[in-house]
């Protein structure tokens, strides 16, 4: 247990210390929130869908959690590059504990980032339908964070060096984000596209947050969202742990 704790603490300390990185990583969600939120607002309203800022805020929160958690999982590649990974891999601790410590650390950081963006959304004028749903929003953030931190570890274990990073970014992370319904409603999509979006775990996370923050605005239904995230999270944790246990250097 103490091994999980030190590795979790390490991720947290790294996050708190890299102040520049905190600001940089908040920049992108802010850009989406402000530029799209205010820029597309009038069009969205004219189409009869209500306030775009209200609609996009959960999407931007979900995006923050996605990016932050998947990058922390891929942080494995940095540790491989700089050698620290070896140190943890030869330690007399089951690798599953090392993997869990890293994943939980990354997920915790992602939830903190998501919370900061949620507060910024409030400043920008976002208002939830009911403040009492805050714990449920947090729950969805935690689930999204675990799903993608585990995915990051699974991918990070299979890649050998940093060159793969751009590939993952362009062909996995960005599609997950754009197909999740973070920026556009999922209703009324062409059939093939709607199949693809329903295979995107982030879609359920964002839909879940929307369904509790803006009561009634949901595509899959909150119970389905929750169930899908829990199942996918569990599967990815197992896959990540397995891939991690097979790393050779």
């Amino acid at each position: 247990m103490s091994a999980i704790y030190v590795l979790w603490l390490r991720e947290l300390k790294r996050y708190v210390r890299s102040r520049v990185q905190i600001i940089v990583s908040l920049g992108q969600p802010l850009l989406y929130l402000l530029v799209l939120g205010f820029g597309l607002g009038p069009v969205f309203q004219r189409a009869g869908n209500g306030s775009y800022l209200q609609f996009v805020a959960p999407g931007v929160i979900g995006m923050t959690v996605l990016f932050s958690s998947i990058f922390s999982g891929l942080g494995l590649l940095w540790d491989r590059q700089f050698g620290f990974l070896k140190e943890t891999l030869v330690a007399p601790v089951p690798r599953i504990q090392i993997m869990i410590g890293r994943t939980l650390g990354g997920a915790t950081v992602a939830v903190i980032q998501g919370t900061i963006v949620a507060l910024i959304c409030l400043l920008a004028g976002f208002r939830p339908a009911n403040w009492a749903t805050a714990p449920l929003v947090l729950l969805f953030m935690v689930l999204i964070a675990i799903v993608f931190a585990a995915l990051g570890v699974a991918i990070g274990s299979s890649l050998q060096d940093m060159q793969g990073f751009q590939l993952i970014m362009n062909f996995l992370v960005m599609p997950i984000y754009f197909l999740s319904g973070a920026l556009v409603p999922l209703t009324g999509l062409p059939k093939i596209l709607s199949w693809i979006t329903s295979a995107d775990p982030l879609a359920y996370g964002i839909d879940g947050m929307r369904s509790v923050l803006l009561i009634g605005m949901t595509h899959f239904g909150a119970a389905t969202d929750l169930a899908v995230l829990v199942v996918v999270g569990a599967i990815l944790l197992v896959v990540g742990a397995y891939r991690f246990s097979k790393i050779q250097i």
Binding site: V6, L7, R10, R17, F84, P92, L159, D161, Q163, K246
Partner: protein
């Protein structure tokens, strides 16, 4: 303590370690010598559970490290050839993480961390991030960390690379001390033949993945009819310079390897 039989490791068509067998007794200091790219580090990686051998068998204290990974890992400590520190953490935190991972009890851990950081003259900089350290300081920290828990077997993979004579001296006298007082078995590799001659009870010479000689430094010198271990080493391995650098073909291979799973 260490028993290696007919060990082979191939990467694709390249054979890094080719049918190597040796034994290291308990309490012995064994130096594993060889030119660049001879297979020293690959052998160590197989011994410390980071690589799976292609064929052959390994026993550490009677345990097969492939089957009983955690029990085997509990028995050894390692100072790696290349860096393995967490640059974003401080020297103190690096030691702390190591101590926790190796189950060193809290009170003993703090005491030993202080002693070792002082011994390797890093105490004043203990709260600085490791990425700000010079090469020599990082090296000293890696070594200090390697001594934090008391393993039964200590692997030192070119530990003195980039160290000044003072630190080198400090290191070898500490190695000798733990070897004598705590009966720690030491398995080391180095390019400095004088060091091997000074500390090692027995040496093994590996070249092109094959073990070409093993025995006491004295026996090896007699076998080759030379005065020093350095001359004996050159007599055994020849004087051509080995090339480890990556050519374009290697880089292509590396790119392919990126998606090729866990081959290395």
């Amino acid at each position: 303590m260490i028993r290696v039989q007919n060990l082979v490791k191939t990467f694709g068509t390249f054979t890094a370690v080719n049918d190597v067998s040796f034994d290291v007794d308990e309490g012995e200091i064994f130096a594993f010598l060889g030119p660049n790219g001879a297979g020293k580090t690959t052998t160590i990686k197989m011994l410390i559970t980071l690589l799976t051998p292609t064929s052959g068998s390994i026993e550490l204290d009677g345990l097969n490290p492939q089957v009983k990974q955690n029990e085997a890992r509990r028995r050894f400590g390692i100072v790696f050839q290349d860096p393995s520190l967490d640059g974003d953490s401080s020297a103190w935190e690096n030691m702390e993480i190591h101590g926790v991972l190796y189950h060193v009890p809290h009170k003993l851990r703090r005491q030993r961390m202080e002693d070792l950081l002082k011994l390797f003259e890093l105490w004043d900089r203990r709260n600085d991030a490791v990425k700000k350290f010079s090469g020599g300081m990082k090296r000293r920290l890696e070594i200090a960390r390697g001594f934090l828990h008391t393993p039964r077997i200590l692997f030192l993979d070119e530990p003195t690379l980039g160290l000044d004579p003072q630190s080198r001296n400090q290191l070898w006298s500490h190695v000798k001390k733990v070897n004598e007082t705590e009966k720690v078995t030491v398995f080391l590799t180095t390019h400095y033949m004088d060091e091997a001659e000074r500390v090692a009870h027995r040496v093994g010479v590996i070249d092109h993945g094959k073990l070409v000689a093993q025995g006491t430094p004295k026996a090896i010198k007699e076998q080759t009819g030379t005065e020093t271990l350095e001359e004996a080493f050159l007599a055994l391995t020849g004087s051509t310079i080995r090339d480890e650098s990556a050519g374009s073909a290697d880089q292509m291979r590396q790119f392919a390897k990126m998606w090729g799973g866990n081959k290395r």
